[in-house]
């Protein structure tokens, strides 16, 4: 392997044989023969990845796609069934909360233990202890048994340790998700600094971090490589695929849950488009958007209305609008006619989270109307705002001025 590569995985596969009993597994290992036919679970299939020194690579994918398995193979915890793994440099991994921490012993004692596993001597650990403690910020709890820690404290201490073992390659699994916003920011600052001289492998469901932190990304789907390329392209393709199912259904699928209506009008398609006319799946700043709805009237309809609502993850309606104010433009629908309806508005920057858009076509007036087709969740998208944003959304066009005023006598 050439010397500027940190990691080289070639054709790595990992199959788990499920034996009828542990004893058969042991005998099979001992005598290199199979005792009882095992069922094979293919966790990884022919995955190849090379990472150069100093690169930051993300590994993304759904739950169960093989991300953790790949990391374990990379770290040497698991042996691949096929393919080769070559790693150059010291690897420090944060794979599970409190891995290697013994509950009865204090945080300090566990730090010594963990750092020793990474090959540090006692003197080295003692030297680094103040830095580790400063990073972890668990104060007096460092001398309490680790079993009394909350999960946030665990991850702070575990991260503090791996941050100070002089690793060349850092592997961070989703364990980081447990920390609070303040700690997560601290880790991100550390990781950004680490990136300057080290290699970082990052597994996360937070596509925003992936895009801002990583150069490249590997998308795993059911154990095989779905896509390998620049972090932004791969992330966007990944998010798009997550919602592809919804989109397919909105494109004239059968009735599913969360829909009702007289049936006289059918919504065939619903999309939210950004100013480049592409589907908006990740909202990162306030922008003009177009809600485009295609529908087909099965009968003639008088005074049609299109309405929509944006809801948060909990189903709470945030805002919406309907077309009544523009009724002059759209007085009726012909039987059998197909229509393309567009709402254009400025979408504010919503707080980080997942959102859905519900649409409905009805007819009548504000006071009295009938619903022809109501879809509770016609479209889904994510928003990524600054972690400092509290509340539902960020304000636009804000200005501020301060002026001292004279005291009234």
């Amino acid at each position: 392997m050439c010397s500027d590569l940190a990691v080289s995985l070639q054709g790595v596969s990992k199959h788990y044989p499920i034996y009828p009993s542990p004893v058969r597994r042991m005998l099979s290992l001992l005598f290199n023969r199979n005792f009882g036919t095992p069922k094979i679970i293919r966790a990884l299939q022919d995955v190849s990845l090379t990472i150069a020194k100093g690169e930051t690579v993300a590994i993304i994918g759904r739950n169960g796609s093989g991300k953790s398995t790949l990391l374990q193979v990379l770290c040497g915890i698991l042996q691949p069934t096929a393919g080769s793994v070559q790693v150059q440099g010291r690897v420090a991994a944060l794979l599970e909360l409190g891995a290697g921490f013994s509950p009865e012993f204090t945080g300090r004692e566990n730090v010594f233990m963990s750092a020793a596993v990474y090959g540090l001597s006692r003197e080295q650990i003692e030297q680094k202890m103040p830095d580790i403690l400063a990073f972890a910020e668990i104060d007096e709890f460092i001398d309490q048994p680790v079993k009394t820690y909350s999960s946030g404290m665990f991850v702070r201490l575990a991260f503090a340790v791996i941050a100070h073992v002089d690793a060349d390659i850092l592997v961070i699994d989703e364990a980081l998700a447990v920390g609070d916003a303040y700690f997560t920011q601290k880790c991100m600052r550390f990781l950004r600094a680490f990136k300057q001289q080290g290699t970082l492998i990052f597994v996360s469901h937070d596509t925003h971090s992936v895009i801002t932190l990583c150069d490249r990304a590997l998308w795993l789907e059911k154990g095989h490589t779905q896509m390998l390329g620049g972090a932004k392209e791969v992330s966007e393709a990944y998010i798009a695929s997550l919602y592809a199912q919804d989109a397919a259904q909105a494109d004239g699928g059968e009735h599913r849950q969360g829909e009702f209506g007289s049936g006289k009008v059918e919504i065939t398609r619903c999309r939210l488009l950004d100013d480049a006319d592409k589907e908006l799946r990740l909202l990162e700043h306030a922008q003009t958007v177009v809600l485009e709805v295609h529908c087909r009237a099965l009968e003639a309809i008088e005074l049609p209305i299109l309405g929509f609502f944006v809801r948060d993850r909990l189903g709470q309606p945030l805002f919406g609008e309907n077309s009544i104010a523009w009724a002059d433009d759209w007085q009726q629908m012909q039987a059998g006619g197909q229509y393309c309806l567009r709402f254009s508005f400025i979408m504010p920057l919503l707080a980080t989270g997942e959102y859905t858009l519900g649409v409905a076509i009805g007819s009548g007036t504000q006071m009295q109307h009938t619903q022809h087709h109501w879809i509770y969740e016609a479209y889904a998208f994510k928003a990524q705002a600054s972690p400092h944003l509290t509340g539902f959304m960020a304000l636009n066009e804000v200005s501020f001025a301060a002026q001292s005023v004279a005291d009234k006598a």
Binding site: M26, L29, I77, G100, E104, E109
Partner: protein, 261 residues
């Protein structure tokens, strides 16, 4: 990882183990001394007064001599017994070492055996103290105590590795061990001298790795006799062989640990 790292890691594991044994208890380390003493007192009472066992040696009809003879055997048995009862579950207890980090797992049984050795040594210190108290001084031969302990220690390593690995796949091993440990105790000349066994069965007793160690230990302490070189080297060689086989087994089936635990 180099040798120095391994040594440091073992030191960490052992000190955690030894410290953890009595951590949180009121008397703490005092138990390390008190518990063998209490056990010794009970056994002495039962075997010398109730069962009225006599060592065929002739002169030691007094209880203290009996007690000390007994103690040697108990300590040596204790060393092996701890290994046998703790190692089958050691990997299960430290499952995260197996599944979540890169760790030289073969060190875990080593730490258990060394920890047992530490307690055995504490027991021997107590023994020597009692000995000096009762008989004035120790024979010079006690300096050869490490010789007695060495083959048993090596054998324990092999047994530890074997049982730790086996215990992952065959859970019953952990259940059988307490029984086996008791059998081992009675099938060694701890409560009786080997001469108390009919001649034709004495050979069977020699299969027990404790037998030779106990006989050696007693000879060292009470008659100042050093072990004969040839049988000793044979014993040591067998121990090393067992250790090698145990380690080989462990390393061979190690791959499946993460899948089973």
């Amino acid at each position: 990882m180099n040798l120095r790292s391994y040594m440091y890691l073992i030191k960490q594991l052992v000190s955690r183990d030894v410290a953890g044994r009595y951590k949180g208890s009121l008397l703490g380390g005092v138990w390390a001394v008190a518990s063998p003493l209490i056990m010794l007192a009970v056994y002495t009472f039962v075997f010398s007064m109730v069962f009225q066992v006599r060592w065929g040696v002739g002169d030691e009809a007094n209880k203290t001599g009996f007690a000390l003879n007994l103690f040697v055997g108990i300590l040596l048995h204790g060393l092996l017994a701890e290994t046998l009862s703790r190692t089958p579950t050691i990997l299960m207890q430290q499952a995260s070492f197996v599944k979540k980090i890169v760790f030289p797992l073969w060190l875990l049984p080593v730490a258990v055996v060394i920890s047992a050795l530490v307690y055995a040594l504490i027991g021997f210190m107590v023994l020597f103290a009692v000995f000096v108290f009762l008989q004035g001084m120790l024979p010079l031969a006690v300096l050869a105590l490490p010789l007695v302990l060495l083959p048993l220690f090596v054998f324990s390593l092999g047994a530890g590795w074997f049982l730790a690995a086996l215990g992952v796949y065959v859970r019953d091993v952990a259940q059988i061990m307490p029984l086996f440990v008791t059998v081992l105790m009675f099938m060694a000349p701890i409560f009786y001298p080997i001469s108390a066994i009919p001649e034709q069965y004495q050979g069977w007793l020699m299969i027990n790795p404790l037998t030779y160690a106990v006989e050696m230990g007693r000879a060292l302490l009470f008659t100042g006799q050093l072990p004969e070189p040839v049988p000793y080297l044979g014993y040591l060689a067998l121990s090393v062989l067992c250790a090698g086989l145990g380690l080989a087994f462990f390393l061979k089936v190690r791959k499946g640990f993460a899948d089973v635990l």
